[in-house]
Symmetry: none
Amino acid sequence: MLNNIRIVLIGTSHPGNIGAVARAMKNMCLSSLYLVQPKIFPSAEATSRASGADDVLARAHVCNDLEEALQDCCLVIGTSARSRTLSWPVLDARSCAARVYQESQSHPVAIVFGREHSGMTNEELELCHAQVKISGNPDYMSLNIAAAVQIIVYEILMAERAGVDSGDIVVADDDDEALLASADDMALFYQHLEEVMIQTDFLNPQRPKFLMRRLRRLYNRARPDKNEINILRGILTAVQKNISE
Amino acid sequence: MLNNIRIVLIGTSHPGNIGAVARAMKNMCLSSLYLVQPKIFPSAEATSRASGADDVLARAHVCNDLEEALQDCCLVIGTSARSRTLSWPVLDARSCAARVYQESQSHPVAIVFGREHSGMTNEELELCHAQVKISGNPDYMSLNIAAAVQIIVYEILMAERAGVDSGDIVVADDDDEALLASADDMALFYQHLEEVMIQTDFLNPQRPKFLMRRLRRLYNRARPDKNEINILRGILTAVQKNISE
């Protein structure tokens, strides 16, 4: 059903951006790309940046105007960073994706991205039902068009997968005030543990990797605090004192 | 508090990617960038692709190895598209962001991105508590490093804005087929551990309670599987064979 979701790019200047958008889309299972008056297309640079998503480029629809690209679409979402006197209903990327995905079950929908520098004209925005605004840094919002598309299509895929069961749940023990062991503490503990395993002939230093990896995974999963690491290292030291030479 | 969240890039080949990552970060209010052995840095190409996020580049920490970049971090999340025989707990981008944001309230956390072509080594992954895997097209997962960072940092900002109060930590360890250790397995393991601690004079049987409780809590939190308990008991047996009477 993601075939019902179109990504529309208006007047893209840099063909590399078209390729990067195709790549972003294919990564998230979208393939329906519409190009309104691209400056240069097709182009080797677009194909190169598409990096294996050239099938999306090959099937892209090149249109003379936005109306043509929006044919049959019942929901059209515009994107624009510019603020306007006449504001459109604004959705964030997540609620945009939820709505787009839901409506794509029954009819084609489009998300429209404006020109790299000047965005969408007022006339183009007027063809939209709503506007999506990606949350970000209020003091520096400078998303490249491919980065913006990447976030939107990621949210669409997440909306599609939303029903999926999350699997096993591990509940952390969060009443403990003790500081968690740092990466440094853990490194010293693993070193100590490995030393003891070698001294007791449990670990063959010629083939050590798999065993240590398993133990790392176990202890990392437990997220020990500093006190716990001290206890474990105390045990290791006590063992070493008692080992027969 | 987003200052407590580090983005760590290992061995990045293309300086343009470093710039694009800085831009992705700044758009989402992150600024703490660590570069482990970048091929070329600083560079004009990185600065150009950063497109106004050059302050993030200027303050980037260049490190000799991953351990250096992880100093003081209590939570380390790795990224890797490669599947492995020995799997790490896997989070999707959203649950990763919730956990990272939550823990960043009290200590530094790191999200580590591997080399463009070869990802992370097993040794580097062993320094991680979990792995994040961005949902995507099972037949074409080819996210550029900047696109992957863009999605992750976007989710982190969304987690912050949602005022996420997840409390519990959700870890979906979905590849691992091994059966969890049963209560009986665990009881036998604790009995064995206690025995060794007494034999090595680490535990005073007159006052045993507190120490065993701490250890139980640690290991229970890890939810060991049967194989892991077998390894731990193997270590204990090896120790006993080597203890001087």
